[in-house]
Amino acid sequence: MDFALMWESLPKVLAGAGMTFQLTFAALALGFVLACLIASASLSKSKLISVPADTYVYLFRSTPLLVQIFLIYYGLGQFQDVRSSIFWPFLREPFACAVLALTLNTGAYTAEIIKGGIRSVPWGQVEAARACGMSGLLLYRRILFPIAFRQALPGYGNEIILMIKASSLASTITLLEITGIARVIIADTFRPVELFIVAGSIYLAINAVLSRGVRMLELHLSPQLKDTLDTEQQRQRTAVIAR
């Protein structure tokens, strides 16, 4: 084990965290907006609107992200029309392509999460709100959104972590984020284990902090969960011991 190399490469690999964050959070932010649109389209009563939204979600969830990245980065250049369009300066850039692919991908997954959240709101609450005279946006803002958000938060927390991991695929289209830099240094020094430990611990730290943050937000939004969670853990522990 070459500790000197690990210590030396830590700042270099850590410098890639910036790129990882940029990719992840740009995609998450854009993807969330996209997901809201898709989720509301999918919940629409008109088949004309809901079927395309469902198809989109189905297509993006059943193909690998790598295919989506390659289709956008390598594939779109095949068409002369794309190359002469105003979008080409963006679509030529690996960063923009990676963000676009990650956005489209997370949009599909997040739409499902949001849909699940909205569906979980008890109908009686909507009726009660209507009886109080709320409608449209007010109903959304005061009743539907807060309840759905709490329901969807654990699932969305998972999605954030999945996106941090997914951003590593951007290294396949030359972007130097954490995994990309680690690979370059491995290829130079041929010290895979050391670099794996360095890069792996960075991911571990990022994900630990993020999942902790989501957990705290969850408890903050629904403090009543604290007791039930504690007793749930207690119950599991006794169940394990009794087995």
């Binding site: 297509l59 193909t63 095949q78 599991q236």
Partner: protein
């Protein structure tokens, strides 16, 4: 369309063969993941807190680190490690893992973390009273395991394992970076030699779609079969 014809001129037969390779490596990784995952689930349900800690660390670490990094670790590190171990036994030649093995092991280890969680949940879903009843009937541990626990765990775990399978299948696309000729790799090769990347990556997407849709159906049928004796409201 000529590009996708079978035979020497087109890439159709190559793409189909690559799809079979994807299916093979996905099945191998999933199977490895099931075996390791059962072990992880057993650790996480163990009585000793040390064993539980090991199981928990495994799932936390493997779920937090990108698979691509694990594939790179095995790709660059496996032959070193194997030669080091072989050196103990007095063998000093060159050793390396095939891309298929690297992919199977890397994806299998990740898959184990996910299926371990699914299996653990399923074991906990079996009502305790049934185990107690089996004990009261005088069944020894192994018989209890085989007759009471396994059939029900399989039933509870099936939907979750279906999800794990889908994720595993899609993750095999990453193995293309170490040169295994599966769908992604074959599409890259074809795209490079015909200068039609969109066409071939779109074909790759369709092949994955067919594989996921087909296997989804199989899991649906398996789920129906496993639940054939269950009454639903």
């Amino acid at each position: 369309m000529e590009l996708l014809s079978f035979g020497d001129k087109g890439w159709g037969d190559e793409m189909v063969r690559a799809a079979l390779m994807t299916l093979a490596v996905a099945t191998a990784s999933f199977a490895l993941g099931l075996v390791l995952g059962s072990g992880v689930a057993a650790l996480r349900l163990a009585r000793s807190s040390a064993l539980r800690g090991i199981g928990e660390t495994y799932t936390t670490v493997l779920r937090a680190i990108p698979d691509l990094l694990i594939i790179y670790l095995l790709f660059f590190g496996s032959s070193q490690a194997m030669q080091w171990v072989a050196g103990w036994f007095g063998y000093h030649g060159y050793l390396e893992l095939s891309p298929f093995m690297i992919g199977t092991i890397a994806i299998g280890f990740v898959s184990a973390a996910f299926s371990g969680e699914v299996i653990r949940g399923a074991v906990q879903a079996v009502p305790r009273g049934q185990i107690e009843a089996a004990k009261a009937c005088g069944m020894p541990t192994w018989l209890r395991f085989r007759r009471i626990l396994v059939p029900q765990v399989a039933r509870y775990a099936l939907p979750g394992l279906g999800n794990v399978w889908q994720v595993t299948l899609k993750e095999t696309s990453l193995i293309s970076v170490v040169g295994l000729v599966e769908i992604m790799r074959q599409a890259s090769v074809a795209a490079g030699s015909t200068r039609q990347p969109f066409t071939f990556y779109a074909v790759a997407a369709v092949l994955y779609l067919v594989l996921t849709a087909g296997s989804n159906r199989m899991f649906g049928l398996a789920d129906r079969w496993a639940n054939r004796g269950v009454r639903r409201a």
